[in-house]
Symmetry: D2
Subunit: 342 residues, 4 copies
Amino acid sequence: MSHNVIILGASGYTGAELVRLIATHPSMNIVALSADRKAGLQMGEVFPHLRHLALPKLQKIDEINFNRANLVFCALPHATSQAVIRTLPGDIKVVDLSADFRLRDPEEYARWYGKDHAALDLQSEAVYGLTEFYRDQIETARLVAGTGCNAATGQYALRPLIAAGVIDLDEIIIDLKTGVSGAGRSLKENLLHAELSEGTHAYAVGGTHRHLAEFDQEFSALAGRPVKVQFTPHLIPANRGILGTVYVKGDAHVIHDTLTEAYDDEPFIEVLPFGAHPSTRHIRGSNFCHVGVTGDRVEGRAIVIAALDNLTKGSSGQALQNANLMLGEEETAGLMFAPVFP
Amino acid sequence: MSHNVIILGASGYTGAELVRLIATHPSMNIVALSADRKAGLQMGEVFPHLRHLALPKLQKIDEINFNRANLVFCALPHATSQAVIRTLPGDIKVVDLSADFRLRDPEEYARWYGKDHAALDLQSEAVYGLTEFYRDQIETARLVAGTGCNAATGQYALRPLIAAGVIDLDEIIIDLKTGVSGAGRSLKENLLHAELSEGTHAYAVGGTHRHLAEFDQEFSALAGRPVKVQFTPHLIPANRGILGTVYVKGDAHVIHDTLTEAYDDEPFIEVLPFGAHPSTRHIRGSNFCHVGVTGDRVEGRAIVIAALDNLTKGSSGQALQNANLMLGEEETAGLMFAPVFP
Amino acid sequence: MSHNVIILGASGYTGAELVRLIATHPSMNIVALSADRKAGLQMGEVFPHLRHLALPKLQKIDEINFNRANLVFCALPHATSQAVIRTLPGDIKVVDLSADFRLRDPEEYARWYGKDHAALDLQSEAVYGLTEFYRDQIETARLVAGTGCNAATGQYALRPLIAAGVIDLDEIIIDLKTGVSGAGRSLKENLLHAELSEGTHAYAVGGTHRHLAEFDQEFSALAGRPVKVQFTPHLIPANRGILGTVYVKGDAHVIHDTLTEAYDDEPFIEVLPFGAHPSTRHIRGSNFCHVGVTGDRVEGRAIVIAALDNLTKGSSGQALQNANLMLGEEETAGLMFAPVFP
Amino acid sequence: MSHNVIILGASGYTGAELVRLIATHPSMNIVALSADRKAGLQMGEVFPHLRHLALPKLQKIDEINFNRANLVFCALPHATSQAVIRTLPGDIKVVDLSADFRLRDPEEYARWYGKDHAALDLQSEAVYGLTEFYRDQIETARLVAGTGCNAATGQYALRPLIAAGVIDLDEIIIDLKTGVSGAGRSLKENLLHAELSEGTHAYAVGGTHRHLAEFDQEFSALAGRPVKVQFTPHLIPANRGILGTVYVKGDAHVIHDTLTEAYDDEPFIEVLPFGAHPSTRHIRGSNFCHVGVTGDRVEGRAIVIAALDNLTKGSSGQALQNANLMLGEEETAGLMFAPVFP
């Protein structure tokens, strides 16, 4: 059975990544693409790597006929996203890639994003889109909120450990290294090649990155009490990939066993042998997430490192995985392609 | 129908790329992988990006049972390749990715590769593997010789023009920019990151690159008289991708028309609108080749630029495309995935 | 003797590079820095790599007292540059890094830059700033026009050959590879890291790049008749460095001899041994230019390759070299530091 | 007064960096260069970026006449270094860049480096070369042991804090990101461009990196009791630069004040305003070290980030700074050049 899907915000990197992935999906059919400022153009003019595909022209959102669609991928900026999704026909399933529906507590949304949420009813209905942990709810959801790419990385390293109670909840540090495409195709001086290549720096130091809101919400819910991690992201000169180095207190072998067991049946999460560690190069362009564990020489401490591709497993691949579930397809449909290395 | 294939030389980049591509091929099944020095290891230990795949262990070639196989991909170094292929059972089809069977004239082989060919009978039977131009012969061939990656790039820009007689045959310059993976996974000082990143240089300047032998053979055959192009390759700090900037004398619009018509029905060759030019970023990781044409301000001259991924369309993707034909499969099977950008 | 200098346009890359170089110059003293939109900031806030230096705050141009200055470096955009320089006191020497005073023929300026020149008297007085070839005039000039960085690269490869009449003037092709900092710190989508890294493409194909105006002017003057070269620039994923691969018809050994002799006494131009070729990595961050020559296998043809750092020898280093001459200093003062590799 | 210096191990990156720096030093004169396997070559053949310099040919060590020299820089591998330095005339000052003389406790040396030390008398005499903290001893030392580049980075962030007792000594985590040149010019698969670019990974996870021996020695001595930090290095796709992100428990403002005061008079250590953080891009190619401090949202915790260039401040620049002191020169002689950005 074939599903008609629409992608809103197709002129950004996550939108383009959705098109890339769906291009070889066995049962999805793109019936409309939106891009406000680029309306009227062919997708191949905006993203020449997609020029070989027969795709609908880019349109403004209000020109789109949503009646033909089974599911909408919404890759719009936050705030815009909630405004648009509110207007969609109620029977269309929606996978949102923005931050708008990730936080269940409207006050937390207002605090981290600086304005009140304008679609509280939708927010209360939305399911958090970390597939491996919300699978059942996603299958029946109408609206799924894609997670932050950094938030996904940290959660793959930590959720089973927090759930199992095998680490100290007050001593978690996530030192994260991320490629530049996570910042999108926006024109900012600090995203220029000349500013970024050949070096690294930290940003949002001290606990100001918005993905912390997701860590707080999810880890606290898992633990049944407030959990506040430390989280410092760094920008590295690579286009794709996030490496999350997580410092925890706990028994490294217990930690490794816990993760191994938790992800045993997961098609996309690979726990490496004890002492081995992932590289972002080895998941590039794919929906896989690699996780490694080593004990530190300082007794009772361990390092857990997780790697995923921010554009794939961290956003558009995750979105497609969720869409598969929502549409009754095999969860892995169109997503089992191998990473691109070198 | 499922085909059993074997990959010899699986510990190099082209071998790994074959595994990556075949992993999602609808009808190929890898039954053996060889890697001399890494025999006994799992593929995922040598190439962690492939660790999620259920693959046979790496073996030495003489441990492999070839009887189960329909086709062998031979990704061994030249000279080794001819020695090994000679010993294979005569009913197994072979796609060779080395330089050993590209040249029809044994004297040319000896001249460019510094030693006599040791499998002349096989050489005479081999079909040159530039799929779009040798399709009929490849379908019935037992042994197909994969082309040089640089040689493929130049030929996609030039073959239709030489065949149509629309350019001056004595005034062809190919200025080529290539990523580093074309040099393989070998330990050479000039391939170190610290030596290569943040800069560019030419190599094999003046007409000493071995892929010139293929240009000479193919272009001369097409023209019916000797054609000797100029060819200067440059190394750029990128892992994948070749950009061939070709300077020719001829009418730019005739040239564009000739290329457009020649590739009109080709699934992988995209001729861009007149005046547009390709980027290696937009074919990365895919089997597509983009070609652009512009007229120069100097009358009667044109620039043709072709871009492809050296590991995919330039070697392993080409090999799979040829294997599809040899095995009676759809030529595009397993190869229509979109490029990975950014 | 110490010289007071002012840098206009200090918030761009060439402005910052001037500050970097002058920081260790034995006899120059920066007395003012302008940056319109960043006026009021410290240089170290705009360019943290310069934070250790005691520098005047950034000012708007009209806040600057020019009376204290011996020389002004003008690193403003073209058009702005001519408007500003017109208003400077007549006794201040000026090194302009923009395109405004490079072309002697006002019609050529209007044709390539799309508007009439607004300071024709200054234009007629300006000396073209390719130091090695205009040394005497620069020493006594009041206004020196810095060359285009690509134009400098091509001229170092070609001027002595055209002057000596050892190459065919109608068959010159410059295939140029340039790093990204030449495009400045401007916010353009195609300068983003995610758009640029890991690949290459040509731009301004077919003879539309404005630096062609300089080639035309200089080569025609040298030859005493019109010379129109072909010139195709490519962007490579590196911050600094230009490699110009120049295809010519002529005797390679005569060409090498001609260049060797021409540059024999030059402190910054290094002609490599016959058959050796430069890399942009080996001149990075320095004022050196490396030039190599090889004969092609096609008889009567040669390849000349020149490499320089666009921000140093291609603009700010050149500007300082010229300023040294204009101020009666040693030409090499503050410029003999070695390239930074790796 | 001019000093004659010799560089042993000139064919490695730290040796080449010494030559680069000394090339513009006001009072040092290179009288011999060694490189075992490249003996007989010109330095410019091994490192073309140094080809403009008039330098002695590379020699084998036993061909060198040490009598002419005031000081030897020894940039040899560890173990080799101690064997060579033992044989030098006793009146020559030595700056060693290897690990051989960093550890005062021979048992620690044996434990971390896997073999007994063979020059214990020299070891006992050696002064640890972190200039800012051993200045007085270095001035009168005959043998100074250059620090590990990672060890230097961590110490610039932490020494004043440990000395002042303002952080919890049992809760220090150093998450370090380093460019690839720190690994030298050695032929290892994991240093190839194709393996390294476009990604990141951790190595020596869990406390096995040898620079930990320096942290242990120095921090314990400062604290007057054992201090064992956690330290996880990561490789990033850049040639130069180390960023050390240090997680500590203590009052962030007290920490910032302590660092600001400690480095107030230091010419090369720049403490950024509270809340600002360094980038490796902004110290590239220079002898500067930038340090930033921010408080975490989790009360009582702070992040200190230090950045330096591993080849300059982390090894060869440090070596030159120490040599200046040993030879009675201005400490900053030849070292005040600005970083190269972009």
